[in-house]
Each structure stands twice: as C-alpha cells, then as structure tokens.
C-alpha cells in the first residue's frame, strides 16, 4: 500500500490516542519514519501489521480499528489535500460512490502500481442504492463501512447501511451493501 495510507493510520492514532500510543504501535509493528512517505509503495503486510498492533495496544477489535480508520480517512485525511477533488467527483455521497471508479482510475494515473478497489452502484430509488465493493485485498470490508459513513458525514447526510452480504470473490474480498439515505 502507499505510504499515504500508513501516514493516515498514524495521524488517526496520534489524534485520538496520543503520540505515545503511536510510538508503541509503530515499535510493535516495526514501522519507522521511512514507512511514512506518501508516494512510496510498501508491502500490504506493513499496513496489516499496523492495524494488528493498533488492535493489540488500544484494546480494540480489528473491526473497530478499520471502521474508525475508514471514517477518519474521508473526514480528516482527504480533507487536507483532496477536498476539492472529492467535491468535483460528487455533490452527494451516492454520486461520489458512483464516480469512485473514475476517481480511482485518475488516481491510478498518478499512483502507479495502485491496486484500486472497484465500486459498482445500482440505483434502487432516489434514496437507496446497492453498492458492490470488490478488492484484491482481503479483510477490508469494515474499512469500506467506515469510508461510507465518512462520506455521508462529509456531505452532511445521514446514510445507513441496511444490508450487507459477502459475495464469493476468489483472491480477494467482495461485499454487497444496501445504503439508504434518510
């Protein structure tokens, strides 16, 4: 994964649990300053180790850490440098999700070697969509839940996930969500 993701994990831990907590997690996961260069790519294992250590040190479950991280990623990390881009790609959370593949394709032009997930949106009604997430990585569905919640918060909307089913997806993970906007 890109160092940008590592940095986001660090920022979240430092903001919510303090610098010392991050020091402990970094030490435990074997992460140093060299792992925090946003445009560098690293083995996926590094970020999995970080999440694992955070789980251990903060006394949270992996699901809690990943959901929190997804929420933080949209509401904090992307706000620093990518806010206008987010706004360009969507005026609502549903629109953003619809355009996410286009967004990630643009990202791919910059972040070479980027392995983007895929998001497919099917409209059920103006306030209800079906979202299918597919990724070559396993275990990140809770991260997506957090991202969706973060996106809703970014657009000041109230969106809830009413259904969630795993879809068989070899060498990765796929989940179907039903989202309802109130």
């Amino acid at each position: 994964m890109y160092g940008m993701i590592h940095k986001a994990v660090r920022d979240m831990v430092e903001a919510q649990f303090g610098e010392e907590a991050w020091q402990k997690i970094a030490e435990d996961a074997g992460v140093s300053d060299e792992h925090l260069l946003s445009l560098n790519t690293y083995e996926d294992q590094v970020v999995y180790d970080m999440i694992g250590s955070a789980t251990k040190m903060l006394g949270l479950t992996p699901v809690q850490v990943l959901e929190g991280f997804g929420y933080y990623f949209v509401t904090e990390t992307l706000q620093n440098n990518y806010k206008s881009i987010l706004q360009t790609y969507g005026k609502t959370s549903f629109e953003l999700l619809e355009n996410l593949n286009a967004l990630h394709t643009s990202i791919k032009a910059t972040f070479t070697g980027y392995k983007p997930p895929s998001f497919t949106v099917t409209h059920i009604s103006p306030d209800e969509i079906d979202l299918v997430y597919e990724s070559k990585r396993a275990g990140l569905t809770p991260f997506v839940r957090g991202l969706v919640a973060g996106a809703a918060a970014f657009y000041n909307e109230s969106v809830s996930i009413t259904e969630e089913h795993a879809i068989d997806f070899p060498d990765g993970e796929s989940t179907r969500f039903r989202l309802v906007r109130e």
Partner: protein, 685 residues
Amino acid sequence: MGNRQDSDLYVNSPTDNRSSISLDLCLKLFPLVMCLDSDGHILFCSERMSASLGSPAIGKKLFDIFKIEGPGARTLEDRKISKEDIGQLFLLSSAELELAFRGQVIDGMYDSKHVFIFLATPWLSWLYDNVSAPRISIGDFPASDSQLEYQLNLCSSKEMLSDLKAFSKKLEHAREQAESASRAKTKFVRHISHEIRTPLNGVITSLKLISQEPDESRKSRLLEIANSSAAALMDLVNEVLDFSRIEEGVFASSKESFNLRPMMREVEAGLSAKAAEKDMFLQFDLSPYLPTSVITDKRSLQRILYNLIGNAIKYSESDLVITRIGLYSRNKEHKLEIEVEDFGIGIPEQDVRLMFDAFWTADNKKSNEYSTGLGLSIVKEIIEKLGGTISVESMLGQGTKFSFTMPIEEPTAQSTDTHAQTDQPPPGSRFHGKVLLVDDNAINLELAQILLGNLGLDIVTASDGAEAVATEKGQDFDLILMDIEMPILKGTEATVQIRGGGRNPDLPIVAMTANVSSDDIQHYITKGMNESLTKPVANEALVSLLARYLPYSAGDETNSPIDESESEEVSSMESLLDTETFDSLVNDIGSENAQRVIGMYIEQTSQQLGELVDLMCGDDLEKCRQVSHRIASSSLSFGLKRLGNRLREIEHAAKDGRNFTQAESDELKNLFAESKDVLERACGA
C-alpha cells in the same frame, strides 16, 4: 481507419476547401461547447454550457463576459477571433461568475455557416485557486481530460514533498544527535583519562615512596593512600563497565524479597561517614504505610540510592539530605515513590535537561571527587529497565530534588507477630527457641551466649563434642550452633552421632568456623550439618541465620547507635586491632558486657599464652596446634588481627610438624603484650 475522410468527421465547405469537424461529434466528446463568430458573438451553447453560465448568453460577446487570459495579448487588443487562433490554448476566466474555461477554438459549421467552435473544459487550477467551492462536477469533463489526474498528481506531489521534508528533518536531527553523541564520547574519553590519572598517580607515587620510607607508621599511611586510590580507580572502571553493559542491553535484574528498613539502614551506614566528613546530615523518612517486605531488584535499588544520595553529598553543599520513601498502590500496581532532596547550590536550568545524558558532568562541580559522569545516566537506564521513571527539579541556590519510582510486586501484609521467613527480620526482633551452643573456647562461648541472649533465646552450652552429644540427648533443642575444632570429639563427629540412627533429622545444626573454603563447607554438609556460620560471628549474619530456622517477633527498634568518636590514636592501634570488628562487637553486646568478656579474655589468654610459649619450644606439637587454635579464634573475635593471624600461622606450622625458635616465642610474647595493651585502651575509651 481507412475511409475516415468520407465519414462525417469532416464536412466539406461549399465555398472553400476548409475541412471542419461536425458540431454533433464535438457535442459527443465535449460536454461544454460554444459556437462563436469572428467578433466573439456567442451563437450557440451546449446544454451543460448554458447551465454552467447560468443566464442566457446567446448574442452576448464572449469578451464581455470573460477575461481572455490566453492566447497572448493580441486577441485582447482587437477582440476578434481569427484563423491564427485555431489550435491555440484558450484560457477564459470570470471572477464574477466564478467560472473559468480552458480549451481550443476549431473551425466548424453551424447553421450552414462557418463558425469557430470553442471546445471547453473547466479550468481546474484556476477554479481550485480562486473559488472556494467551484460549481463543477465530473460530468463537465471529457473522458480524455487529464486535468484531474494532473490535479491529483499535484496534490500528492505536494504531500510527498512535505513528507520528504519532514523525513529529512528527522534524519538531520538523528545525524546531529549522532554527532553530538560522538563528540560527547570524545569528551568523555578525555574526561575519564583525566579522572583516572589522579587516583592512578596516587597509587604509583605512594607505592614508590613506600619503598624508600623507613618509618612504619608513615609507611602504613602511604599504603592506605595507595589502597584508597586503587579503590577509587576500581569504582571508576566499574562504572564504565556497567554503563557499557547497560548500553549493550546486558542488564539482568534479579528480584528478591527483602525488608526495606534494614536495607535503608545499610545505605545510611554506607554513606554516613562521607556525610559526616562534610558536616552533612542524612535524614530518612519512611512512610508508615510501607510494607515490611517488598519484592524488587534490591541491588539496583540500593545502587540508585547510593548514587543519588552520594551525589548530593559530593556536590550539593547542602547540610541536609532528605530521602523519602512512600508507597503508591492502585489496583494491581504497586510502586515505591522515592525522593532524594537537598537544599544546596542547585543546578542551572540548562544542565537539568542534560544531566541524565551519558557523559554529562556539571562544569561547576567543585568537588575533587573522581567521577565518570556516567552515574546518573546509569541510574536512569536502570530505573527505566525496571519499569520506573525518574525526574529532577532544581532551583539555583535552593536545592535539587530527584524523584523516581520503582515498581514492586504486591506487597505482603504488614508483618504481624511470629513468622519464620527467610529475609532479614527488623532490628530489635526477638527470637523464640532453645539453642545448644557448642565451643571449646570459653571466650567465644561467652560472646555467642551474650549475642544469643540479647536476641531472646534460651541457651545451653557445651564445651566439646562429647558434651554436646550428651546434652542433646536429655533435652529438646530448636537449633545447635557447633564449633568444629574441639578436643575429645570434633563438631562434625558430634553431628554424626546426634543424627545417628535417623534421629533428629529436622534439627538444624550449624557449623561455626573460621574455615570458609567451599570444600570445608561441603565436608560439613556431608557430615549432616545444615550450613556454616563464619567466625568471628557478626550480629547481622547471626540474625539472618537465626531467621532461617527460628520464629521471631518484631520488637521495637532499640538499637543503640555507636558513637564513633575516637580518631587520633587509631592509626597506632590499627595494625594490632581491627577497630571495625571491635566496634561492631561492642555495639552488638553492649560495652558493659564487652568490658567483662575482654577481662575474661585477657586473664585466660595470659595464662594460655604462657602455656603456648612453653609448648612452642617442646615436642608436643599437636597440643601446641590446639592451644594456638583456641587463642587465635578468641583473639580474632575481638579484632586482634595481628595476634590472631600470627597464632594461625603457628597453628598451621605446628600442624606441619615445624619446630619454633626461642626468638619466635619471644616475639609472640611481645605481640600479645602489645595487643593486650591496645585492647585494654580501646576498652577503656
């Protein structure tokens, strides 16, 4: 690909041969499209363009709505669009409308007329720079437009740049640290070489002078200087070794259970002389809530205290150093909270921050003590290795306070009445039980009897092995303290008999002997003894031995401290009398008892010595060995070192079958006379 020309990509103009792209195709590829005449009048807008402009724009002039930022200044002047503009990049902006476009003007057909078609895309960088929430969406962009990628690239490059800056700052910081560490090490080597030179000089010079010094007492004074300089050297070297061991990560903490109060008393005893030299008073405040015994790394704790209090003595110029020990207990976490505070000169602020760094030594250090400058950094490392923390507060001219914590394991409850446990009982404790004390030397018997009696024990004595065996048969004992070298039946043989036939398997029998080689001790154990206690018996060792076998109850602390007032005369006595042994004996049994026993000793030994002097010149070397053994052991009990050691030599020589000369026996007589003199004087003082 082949017949593109024939398709409707290009529409041939009826009047000239210019090829133009159809508006339909333009509208497929570009969401934002306008048709213009050469004066810049807007003839047509695509749906998205109309929406984006807001108000109706047909018939208006482009140059009235937008500022033309490109291409060049020419267009701005004549406000016309010409053939030269085809293929150029157009940049239009309107601050008022919060709109900006970029794109190309191409040649096209609209309403069967030649027109210029403006293929626009939102001008992203202008919008991002000038408008807080641009009214654009992804639908405004043609799929091929790379502006978004470019923007992403820009954002992420910016981020990467700041990451790299942060990273290089960190590296720079690390480099500076490494450099300053290396500078500090160089400084340290210089410093330590200097520090070593002083005591080394002391050793070398005094040894050189000794060889030329005829006067005995000055010789021994020089030897003393050599010794203390060598000890200082040893301390320096040990500190350096410790430091490097900790730096390498080889620090092994070893936890043990021990009593805090006696431990603190040891620290006090170890430092009180130094404090007294500087007219400094050491005060120890122990919280009443402290548990009697704790489990932690005792050696390290003592070391930290020696270091911090020792530093205060050396450098603070305070007349009082207070050490406070309290207990912090919450949930499962227990720790000692310890403060060492002085009221002396204080430490400058800039030094307070640095003082735990290795190699730091205060520049204003006024003392002539040797120091590696490693002490505090070792202290900090040890404390942290043990899970504690240390901090320091200081005010110039007001004093300095070190505070540190040391985790301890769940303290055992406050000690109540009787218990049999292994650690040192608090001073003043009373033991319960009946002890058989066996020694052929009446003086030693008397001394031990006083010591044991003071500790509250019932004592029965026997003066040889055979008597011990007989006495043991008639009564129940809780402990036997047995001399080894005795006439009639040796201690080891007596033990064999006492334990004979499987009797008394649980009765502790402890050897009391001056022979302390591990082979000897092993031999006693194979004969059935539990362990050995070294003679002359020190109170402290005796108490911790008794605590292993007998129940005791904590009493009140009525240990009378020794007053150490004698000083001048000491040096002449020194070679004959070991004052430390003598003082601790007086302290242990009280001066009245001491006077009485010394009287006994002098009376008996005078007589025995006469006997020995005769034996030395006779044939009965075995008898000679026995008598010299007996006198040696009681002489050493009082600290009569030279006499005791000489008698030991005679004992061994007799054992080896060597005869003695008249001169040797005369010399012994003189030695005894001198020793007796010194002892009587010390006793009277």
